[in-house]
């Protein structure tokens, strides 16, 4: 017993003293080496795998190159790629609009639904484990697979929906509808994801808060919105980030459906169409990628600003 009490005492002075010295003067060589390695490796990786390629893409976006021959065969065309994208590339503006719709839709429907499911499941009702698994199941499926699964529902001539309702709706083919059909499929997966995150958050909420609220006579709904929800702020931030990322990276699903054409244009798919497939418009594709990077940067900047402001306020 005594030695347990003593142990922290004996280490404590060292622990508190060492950092002070370290900050002011030098760390021991070994620690310095460790720190340098730990900073340098990720730094090198980030620079090599993120910044250098990003900058090269920007450079490439001012050229025209079909991938034949060496780099000196790149024809530098200035901002022509950007000009073409904004003026004569019919798929671009729809793609921007679709990405934004995607973002708004994910925020409104699956997020709210996921939150609701989490609250309901959190009440430990009978069979909640089963429901939890059932709702989460789609998340483990890849989006490509989800595209195929929903194709079975949506196919115009052989699909389940049209068969059951005797309708003739061209779910994946009609450009006025197919985006929504795809969003439903995305939501089917996304809801489970959000649900699980909120469920984890709810489990982490201090039970005494609820009790206190109950003692004060707050209704369930009031408790949730005025007590629980604000407490879950970190979770909410995570959800916001996830939703933004999910909607900007919208790609897989539309790619398996029709390669991002005919009403399902999203920027990610346009980049791929121009660069990955048999088409090799590297300059044009890079310009699209740069635009996508700029759009992402807006959201990332907003996010980082909020996070940093919060830390400063603390």
């Amino acid at each position: 017993m005594t030695h347990i009490d003593e142990a922290p005492l004996s280490t404590e002075p060292e622990k508190t003293v060492a950092p002070v010295q370290g900050r002011e003067k030098k760390l021991p060589t070994r620690d310095r080496a460790t720190v340098i390695t730990m900073v340098a490796i990720p730094l090198v990786l980030v620079v090599l795998l993120v910044w250098v390629p990003a900058l090269l893409s920007v450079v490439l976006s001012f050229g025209k190159w079909n991938g034949f021959g060496d780099l000196d065969t790149i024809e530098w065309v200035g901002v022509q790629n950007y000009q073409d994208i904004f003026t004569i590339y019919p798929a671009f503006w729809p793609a921007v609009r679709h990405n934004l719709i995607w973002l708004a839709f994910l925020f409104v429907f699956p997020t709210v639904l996921g939150m609701l499911l989490a609250v309901v499941l959190d009440r430990e009702m009978k069979g909640s484990r089963f429901y939890q698994t059932a709702f989460y199941m789609p998340v483990v499926l890849s989006l490509a697979l989800i595209g195929f699964i929903w194709q079975l529902f949506y196919s115009r001539d052989q699909g389940l929906i049209n068969d059951v309702f005797g309708s003739q709706v061209d779910w994946y083919g009609d450009p006025d509808i197919n985006l929504w059909a795809v969003l439903v499929a995305t939501a089917w997966r996304h809801t489970g994801y959000i649900m699980l995150i909120y469920l984890a958050g709810l489990k982490g909420v201090d039970a005494s808060l609820r009790e206190a609220a109950a003692v004060d006579g707050a209704s369930e709904v009031k408790t949730f919105f005025h007590v629980i929800f604000p407490v879950m702020r970190p979770i909410n931030m995570v959800v916001v980030v996830i939703v933004v990322i999910e909607s900007l990276r919208a790609f897989d699903l539309v790619w398996v459906i029709n390669k991002g054409r005919n009403g399902l244009e999203v920027i990610g798919a346009l980049v791929a169409q121009n660069v990955i497939g048999e088409a090799t418009r590297y300059g044009f594709g890079s310009a699209l990628a740069v635009i996508m990077m700029l759009i992402s940067s807006i959201f990332i900047t907003l996010y980082l600003r909020t996070v940093f402001r919060e830390e400063r306020n603390r």
């Binding site: 079909n66 990322i245 791929a272």
Partner: protein, 455 residues
């Protein structure tokens, strides 16, 4: 050698950067599929690089270029397990090994991966001989110096002039050896036609009357699906060849004619008038689903390649076809799409002599027979000396029809710049099918983008 490798790696790196990493880290996962492709490409070239250094290491002692002791590397665009397409090529490789004594090192790659990484493949360390298609894209590789001049191997016994022409790049030299082809035509069920007393139309009037009669009987005349974007190119091709002729079609594909001119507008306008005879809502339907509607008798006809049989899950006994009828008597109906598959020798291949020798043999009747005897579904051999004993009726007729055609096109996405076909024509044709009345808008947009691409 080293500088080639380094140059190549640089390029590979730039290519992969443009595709995935131009995006901030948080969204890199976006392009999971994209990245996978790129990684696969890198993996592929990595393997190729490894192979190359091995070869380079043992390349000092000059072994025989062909015959026993020599190795030729053979890249094919069908992975193992996909069925007849791979089996035929593998059997051909084996037959060549037996006959010539040259060891054939087979490199079977999934079809789409092969197509999509062809540029980096050819500029890295490709196999000596690889599967490819006749047409503009072959010519493009020839122009870029990526494939080897095979004119010293031509003429090849049993390959007639039209095949030689298809193997010829604009510089007048041959860069390609054909092995097989298939026609695009109007397919129908014999039993359905018989039951209704319909016959293949020979004139435009017959054709219109037939379609009206079909509609009267509650049968949609044409099955139609364009979810994948490329099947409707076949309709454009045939209408353009019937209305404006083969020569105009080819120079339009080469970027030498205006897309917003009256000729192309006329094609779209005719198409617009024919659309009511086609299945509605084509943009959500795959060609397999459309083929099924024809198979079930809901639709009377389907304009597609002979691969339509694959979607029906039968041997095609009840299928027959006719070439698209003439629309303008001054143009006639003697041109059609019949994509030719075959082989090229990569300039960067290690063993040029072995590659050329093998390519020549691949054009022979023996090669075609070896392939056809080994698989349950034969292809239609380009070589006229090849045995037709394994052919179905459909194939015998295909051979006849293509043999009788005066002009053969390769299909839009093989006849024109791949950038243009994939990023402009597919969306534009889909835009037209969405809103057939805005022909001026569609053609103007195609022309603007064509200007930018063909520059």
């Amino acid at each position: 050698m080293l500088c080639i490798l380094v140059g190549f790696c640089l390029q590979e790196a730039v290519v992969s950067r443009t595709t995935s990493t131009a995006i901030p880290r948080s969204t890199v996962a976006t392009m999971a599929a994209t990245r996978r492709n790129v990684l696969r490409g890198i993996g592929l070239s990595g393997l190729a690089v490894g192979g190359a250094s091995l070869l380079a290491a043992c390349g000092g002692d000059s072994g025989p270029a062909t015959g026993s002791g020599a190795t030729v590397k053979f890249g094919i665009n069908e992975a193992e397990g996909v069925g007849a397409a791979h089996d035929r090529l593998a059997a051909i490789a084996k037959a060549y090994q037996q006959e010539s004594g040259t060891t054939v090192d087979l490199n079977a790659v999934d079809h789409n991966t092969f197509q999509e990484s062809i540029n980096t493949y050819l500029q890295g360390t490709p196999d000596d001989v690889f599967t490819w298609f006749a047409g503009f894209r072959m010519a493009q590789f020839a122009e870029a110096g990526l494939i080897t001049d095979l004119s010293d191997q031509w003429p090849i016994d049993g390959l007639n002039d039209s095949f030689k022409q298809a193997a010829t790049a604009p510089d007048g030299k041959q860069y390609f050896v054909p092995i097989s082809y298939y026609p695009w035509a109007v397919f129908y069920r014999k039993s359905v036609f018989e039951k209704n007393g319909w016959a293949p139309p020979s004139t435009n009037d017959d054709f219109m009357a037939l379609m009206d009669d079909m509609q009267g009987k509650g049968v949609t005349p044409f099955a139609f699906g364009d979810k994948d974007g490329w099947p409707a190119m076949g309709t454009f091709d045939i209408l353009n060849m019937r209305l404006n002729g083969f020569d105009f079609h080819m120079s339009l594909m080469a970027g030498d004619e205006a897309w917003d001119g009256d000729e192309v507008k006329g094609v779209f306008d005719t198409w617009r008038k024919l659309l009511p005879y086609h299945q509605a809502d084509p943009l959500g339907r795959t060609w397999q689903e459309a083929a099924t509607s024809m198979g079930k008798g809901e639709c009377g006809m389907y304009l597609l390649g002979t691969f339509v049989v694959d979607a029906l899950g039968e041997n095609g006994e009840d299928l027959d076809f006719f070439t698209f009828p003439e629309l303008d008597s001054s143009i006639g109906s003697d041109a059609l799409d019949a994509p030719i598959d075959g082989f090229c020798v990569a300039s960067a291949g290690q063993n040029q002599d072995a590659g050329k020798a093998m390519a020549k043999w691949l054009g022979s009747a023996a090669a075609a027979d070896a392939g056809n005897n080994a698989a349950d579904a034969p292809f239609i051999a380009a070589n006229e000396g090849a045995s037709t004993s394994t052919y179905s009726d459909l194939q015998k007729k295909s051979a006849e029809v293509v043999g009788a055609a005066a002009n053969i096109a390769q299909f839009m996405d093989r006849d024109t710049n791949a950038d243009f076909a994939n990023t402009v024509m597919i969306p534009s044709i889909q835009a037209f099918l969405k809103d057939p009345d805005d022909i001026d808008g569609v053609t103007a947009s195609i022309q603007e983008q064509a200007n930018s691409i063909f520059g």
